[in-house]
Symmetry: C2
Subunit: 196 residues, 2 copies
DNA sequence: CAAATATATTGAACACTGTTCAAAAAACAG
DNA sequence: CTGTTTTTTGAACAGTGTTCAATATATTTG
């Protein structure tokens, strides 16, 4: 039945929305079956009629947050000169988003998936985001003969790993100790990767 | 009394040893108060007479693992030509150690500390390890006029972030998908950072 | 050595976690 | 309204970390 499917999607949406709210406000540590269900207005047991387990539900949020992060970055880099300038602005905005929502960083890069969740393919969604956001500017640099395609691929990978590492250390270990020091490191990192 | 202190350190050692065993074999997910106490031969309640909470105990393992990792790396880079060659070998051995013990990577870079645990200063122990292991070779490169001191500092930081990010993505998201692809990325990353 | 005191160890209890399942409630069909 | 199907639900179970009063073990004292 179509009606059933619509209603099912609606209820699923309530649970997903509740989970996203908790992730953005209190973070991953506060995400629990009872907590989600309370916010969604259902019993905790109802959750299991719509999702096979809580991890399944949690990782369904990745798609939405990916889109939100994408919008955040494009909104904060509108009007910046294409090429290296916008590349740097893009990466900085990307980091800003996760600094603002540490729970989403945890969800994207830290929290273990349940088991073979090849369906959602979280890894692909997560790792392709920065690549996608930078794609136009890498292409710009290649077209302007500032880089070869191979160099761009290498730099893009290096940038993804560096940024992920810096965010990991800052969010989990407060390293560097201050936000200004973090920003300085981020700047040096990006400049270092783009130079030459 | 000195006798009391010796005995206290002994019992503490039993708990720490038990925790380290679990971390190396089953990983962080299997570390629980009851699990540790069972292995140590005590009741779970006894643990709280020696440590303020389980996180306190867990992070006391960092010091030992740091030393172990250090030994692992120096043992696996003995006889390698100093400079860029040994720098690369050092970083690769450093990664190997965490690939071998993913639970220790989690402990070092992921697991949240309880509260202000400034006493143990986990962050310092963790972030200074790679720096320490590479120090002699950076110095070598500077002395040989291959790098300026400032360049070395920048490259050292970039390397720490890249390596941490690559390990994070590989251990938590299986990205890249195979170990051989991971090693290839690691090689490219190190070469890229060391070049020029 | 025996009694009194101090210390160490312990299990019960509490509040949480995720998950399952049979019973109750609601929706739908005839 | 009755009978059937679907949805929702709380009880229950096995886990988690932590606290605390009771017990068992050492140590000191008479």
């Amino acid at each position: 039945m179509n009606k059933k499917e619509i209603q099912e999607q609606r209820v699923k949406g309530y649970f997903i929305e509740a989970t996203k709210e908790i992730l953005k406000s209190e973070g991953l540590k506060s995400v629990s079956v009872r907590n989600i269900a309370d916010r969604a207005g259902y019993s905790f047991a109802t959750l299991y009629n719509y999702f096979k387990d809580v991890k399944d539900l949690v990782f369904l949020c990745v798609k939405d947050f990916r889109a939100e992060c994408s919008e955040y970055v494009t909104a904060h880099t509108a009007g910046v000169t294409p090429g290296n300038r916008r590349l740097k602005a893009t990466v900085l905005a990307y980091m800003e988003y996760f600094i603002q929502y540490p729970g989403i960083f945890e969800l994207f890069f830290v929290e273990k998936l349940s088991e073979v969740d090849n369906k959602g393919n979280t890894t692909g969604l997560v790792t392709s985001l920065l690549t996608e956001l930078c794609a136009a500017d890498w292409k710009y640099c290649i077209d302007k003969r500032m880089l070869t395609a191979r160099e761009a691929t290498l730099k893009q990978a290096a940038l993804l790993y560096s940024i992920t590492g810096l965010l990991t250390l800052y969010l989990n270990r407060r390293y560097p100790e201050s936000y200004s020091a973090f920003l300085k490191q981020a700047g040096q990192l990006i400049d270092g990767q783009l130079k030459n």
